[in-house]
Symmetry: D2
Subunit: 437 residues, 4 copies
């Protein structure tokens, strides 16, 4: 977490020299909203210890509309694509980029790319959509993305740049996760090599909340809200049956944020398992022993598990867990292990297993996520118009900032088990501090 070596510098296509068509104030205390300034930052590392001095250097450029912009609005040919799994709020982001470009800057050429990077790959032969305010006016009420989405093809940089070039696109918005943004960075670099005028601005999308340098992913709160519904169901089922056990599996391949927050939001979870904290099934400090003792005391139990948790247990079982992309199904493993365990003990249990994944990610954004998406999209449009390149728009310490893609994809955002978030979860569930023998 040291920030000494981090380079927060944002690349820019060139010196912004054009007067923004957006009229804002430069005067303080005139009741009128102000431009954002290039020389304005927020500190990145804000932790201070008593025995340290507090000279902090890493700093993030604040986002927002600049007085001078790089692009002439009528020369902009923008394109937006959405990649990877669905996430609440995608349509909100698309909508706000279009609305800001169109109404605030007067940009009238905005393409929607179909099905992620595939829409830029020749062989898929997918049409572009013309995006207008009328087209996007109501889309935020629906889950999903009007552009469609797909995985992969972020590594077809050359083909993609060919296509962008052939269509004269000089502004690309990439809404997606880790892989998408790596692809976006490659595109930005390839364009630079070819001397193409292209700015690439990413909007980080990861329902797992696992992108670094981003306080909270858009759609995350909505996902938690939906996961809470599933856990509520599991709790009722567990509570109202004899020796009822409810298991809910939620998203979270490498980080357990959804599981952790869901457990905090609903006070009926007894055990939470996340990828960041290992656990045992067997042995005196394993889940099965704890579960047995809990059923004796309380007659029911609710388990919440992130899909990426306990992957070592699956390996141990001989199941092939070939890397990140092919997780073993820990939910099914838990279900089977628990059933077998209590069958052996000749104890009747009533186990209900709930896997709500698609219901969670296809929901429309709730109010808080709608606000967040609207501001992300607007700030992305401002960044692109100012010629900012190869950066993400994100929220850090509750402030909208520009983050170099390079930094953001360097490592995953994970729950720190030493942190107060994980401590809060352990306090809320009352589960053992660590279920390892």
């Amino acid at each position: 977490m040291t920030n000494e070596n981090l380079d927060f510098t944002i690349d820019c296509l060139g010196q912004p020299a054009i007067d923004s068509p957006i009229v804002l104030s430069k005067v303080i205390d005139d009741y009128v909203a102000d431009y954002a300034e290039d020389g304005h930052y927020v500190l990145y590392d804000i932790d201070v210890k008593d025995d340290q001095d507090s000279l902090k250097t890493g700093r993030l450029e604040v986002a927002g509309p600049r007085e001078k912009i790089y692009f002439k609005p009528d020369e902009v040919r923008a394109a937006i694509c959405t990649c990877g799994g669905l996430c609440p709020g995608l349509n909100d982001v698309i909508r706000s980029i279009v609305m800001c470009l169109w109404y605030r800057y007067g940009v009238k050429t905005i393409y929607g790319i179909k099905f992620g990077y595939r829409g830029l790959i020749e062989k898929f032969n997918l049409p572009m959509i013309q995006l207008t305010p009328q087209e996007v006016d109501d889309i935020h009420r629906d889950g999903g993305t009007i552009l469609g989405s797909s995985r992969g093809y972020g590594d077809h940089t050359s083909e993609i740049v060919d296509k962008l070039d052939s269509m004269g696109i000089n502004m690309l918005f990439t809404i997606g996760g880790d892989g998408t943004q790596k692809g976006a960075l490659d595109i930005a670099e390839e364009a630079k090599k070819r001397n193409l005028e292209l700015t690439v601005v990413g909007i980080p999308k990861t329902i797992d909340n696992d992108l670094s340098f981003v306080q909270k992913s858009f759609g995350f709160e909505t996902a938690v809200e939906k996961a809470v519904d599933a856990v509520a169901g599991a709790h009722v089922e567990a509570h109202d049956a004899m020796n009822g056990i409810g298991i809910v599996k939620v998203m979270g391949r490498e980080s357990g944020y959804i599981a952790a927050h869901t457990a905090l939001a609903i006070n009926d979870v007894n055990y939470v398992f996340i990828p960041e904290v290992p656990f045992d099934l067997d042995g005196p400090n394993g889940l099965l022993a704890h579960l047995e003792s809990r059923l004796q005391r309380r007659n029911h139990a609710v388990i919440l598990i992130a899909e990426g948790a306990g992957q070592d247990l699956i390996d141990a079982e001989g199941t092939d867990a070939s890397g990140n992309k092919n997780l073993g199904d820990i939910g099914i493993l838990l279900k089977d292990k628990i059933k077998t365990h209590f069958k052996t003990k000749q104890q009747e249990i009533n186990l209900k297993y709930i896997d709500p994944s698609y219901i969670i990610r296809s929901a429309p954004a709730n109010a808080a996520d709608s606000i967040y998406c609207a501001r992300l999209g607007t700030n992305a449009a401002h960044a692109a118009m100012a010629g900012k390149n190869g950066c993400l728009v994100g929220l850090v310490h509750n402030r909208f900032v520009h983050i170099p893609i390079k930094l953001s994809v360097a490592k995953r955002n994970k729950i720190n088990p030493d942190s107060d978030l994980w401590r809060s979860v352990v306090e809320a569930t009352g589960q053992p501090l660590l279920m390892k023998n």
Copy 2:
């Protein structure tokens, strides 16, 4: 916003010398949650400008469970009171304080004070409630507060301290706003004068989001969600009638956060008015002129107004607007003025006025607010057990910290019209930058 003169020091009843019954880790990277440390802070002022050095000094103590605590758990006699208007999440906060004190520390004497400070005033003769985990287990599913609430009596310091003293209460949690926390501070100081061992920890409650040094009030997101429903109704009514005008009045006496966020969450608001930004009704740049022109172009309009906005207009009308406590009704004023205006112009309009206030504030907390409340309450319990006194638990830069009550009540948190929040609102609505002639 300069922090040079701000004193962030947290008072403590004495040196915490008792081993906490909560077992946590002090080791990094052992997968086990850690204690919070007294010598750990977060910077308060995190803005940096190019032409400034970044030596920042103001810093806030992080909240959380300490390894050493001040109170012996079996000597604690805690009390909780909820004051002022209702707000989503009150029961969540009560619940989490009780659960943390009871299960984590083993405190078994926890009183619920009925109807705010009144429950500590002799003449009201109100009984105390014994709070136990069973009593509070399900309360977070309901809006409101199981303790009841009332306004006022925060200034009856002496009587209140008499009562606390007579009951042997040595730990007081005050859930309330500005006035409540001022009262809490007076109580803490009076107790100190009398040499009573009493720690007072506040949980800031203000649906208007107007407490300083607090990033976001609990219940605020829920309130916005509910306000969005009301505006959605207003928009449908306005849109589906000939020359339809929908007016929605929301809470916000001195700050317009609910109005601002609601407008961002739903994209159908055309004019937002908040207490922080003045506006005219008449004249070429007044609301009536803009409304007239909008009806000609678009046939409908939606206006969102915070209750504290435009108070000068009401004075001008001869209505008595005697200070903070007796706001003139700006919603009714707008309604009447608009009706008269178009009647004079002989233009038919269909005006619908919606005032959803109680529906908003009596709702149960949504998932995000539940999480927030649970963590606020838990951290308040930790603070009190450590002997922290005269402080609030709050969220700053997304971190839970201790804030001296003195600082927090010194001035109101208001929307800065120069900020990116207000800029976002103006961008989203497309309203004139300032509607003053």
Copy 3:
């Protein structure tokens, strides 16, 4: 309730002689859905008493697609209009009429009339909308009506028929209440006089549920659901304040169905007042006396009042209550009377008044109402294609039937105080059987 003199005969433009393009089965037990038959009815009066024989004669024609239809689909020029106040489900009905006409029958000329009957009145000069499946595909997700609505002009029969004639419209769907359907009948009769081929089919819309011969209005369940939210808020506010009183006013000019069902859905209402049952404020059996005694026993009370209740009380107060169209505001009257009463008694109360009307009626339909609307619209399309004229499509004894408009508008549907519905309400609230002195 005697049905001897009721004429349930449905008028038809002529003998349906054209084969329906819709292919259905005429065979029983072949797993394939069947046509509806003209000679199939359901009994209207199904009550039997021991001392009566059960020979029942009044019978309603069942709705549904006929094997033979009257109109050639490619000669149909249909039009849809929505009149009166908004109601959840309007867009669902529009959608299902369009979908059925277009996809099932192949009708390609469907006009949407703007703002109710005004769209057929020359002087308003309102354009017609072409309705296509694409246009209406998603509209049911929104509250309100894409066509807009307005009150009145149902009595401009001649002008309206001129307009329909000039546009060659031969099929008119009128979605509206009492006044709208009276207008629809006049239009049908005027067209007949002029020898115009025009079929008029109504879909009854009345959020108050006050149309006779219709078991349940569409949107009614959604309205109750929303009213429940408002009452929940009122209950929390009343319960959590000292001597809290919550008053909620809901729609219901001449019938109290919304109030009655809302009270049954939420068990926190103490007094329900509806237009069908008179009540006193003063005197030993009046509301004020009961309220006083309840506050002494329980410290809080929730009152739910339909807007049309207690109108005699308002007259008594000298307020002008000039007929149906200008109800005195019983909610405000209650509020003022109660405040004055307890002020006189020098008893502190905390009264909160909630009037959620527009929020209720502008909501999108819930699942049950969506189903109902979809089936109403589809059956209306079938009826019109078969040449049925001057009739409504409605639900009676849970069956979709054709109802002559003439019967339906003859008198209002009201709650019978002798019925089990009102008995259920009185049982649920525990209120006095009749609050009259």
Copy 4:
């Protein structure tokens, strides 16, 4: 459906001779709710055809409070049990029985039996709960049942009657489905044999809506509402992926009501499969062929399947589908078959499978179901106090009536494919009339 041989007579423990403590009116038009009368019925068969006379004889006794009751309230020892799978509204029913017995009749001995019939079987040694208004006041806000539930043991008649006898229970309310009510009837008959004074009244509970003589099961609307959410998710996932296919499996072992109504409520389902209508996978008129052609035309498809549909296909696959209790998993079969089919055709598809079952059935009741449950429970209490025995309380033609259990369990309620309900579904989805070769 002929009702000639149906015996609707309701058994009664004896002549009700005690004045009811409930005061109601016997006068018409006095604004006061009336008693229900024993000699008042509603016709059961209300269909009439042109060529039939309409002399109908089958008739159902109306439910409601009688002027004379059978039991002395202070001699009543009532018990309530909930059996089988969870269903929205169980707590509402429990609550309303308790409230009516306690407040309306003055019955103060009401037991809650734990975990269905198990609570009456000695070996499980389960304690009874004392049910009081305070105990049940808020329970309707939660899904599930405070009594817990379990399957089976309805056939342990003798043991159960021993237990009821030993506890002096003379009034038993059984909330459950087919098996539960058969058990209830056996209990009633065994008690009669033993000359025990015991009245047994059932409240039909079947989320599948498959009980005969019951218009609509309680919880059914809520279940549909939740199923709609799942289908909405499936639609978004299908629509936003290349060749996306969404499959949702919902409850419905022998009848497809949830699937049918869900498809009507949301207009995005393309194929609905229910137990009542067979279908093929292969062949020119099978699902796979239709799906292939649909993907070519529309690129996505949504399939909704009731768990009991297509069981013959599973047999054909060699899967063991041993009778009613062990359904083969048609959802998984569909998923696998479709995947294999398109793999063979080398066509990329994106298939998402959603099984929301427990989320659906554990939800709290929505407003309409709450009303229904409240009225069912109240009427059950009235029936029992009047000494009605071996009957259910149900809704027929929108009227609350008494139904002999014997009739109700004689056969399942199923969707008639010839009916207008199934026709509506086929019209809404546009699916082939029958997908059989």
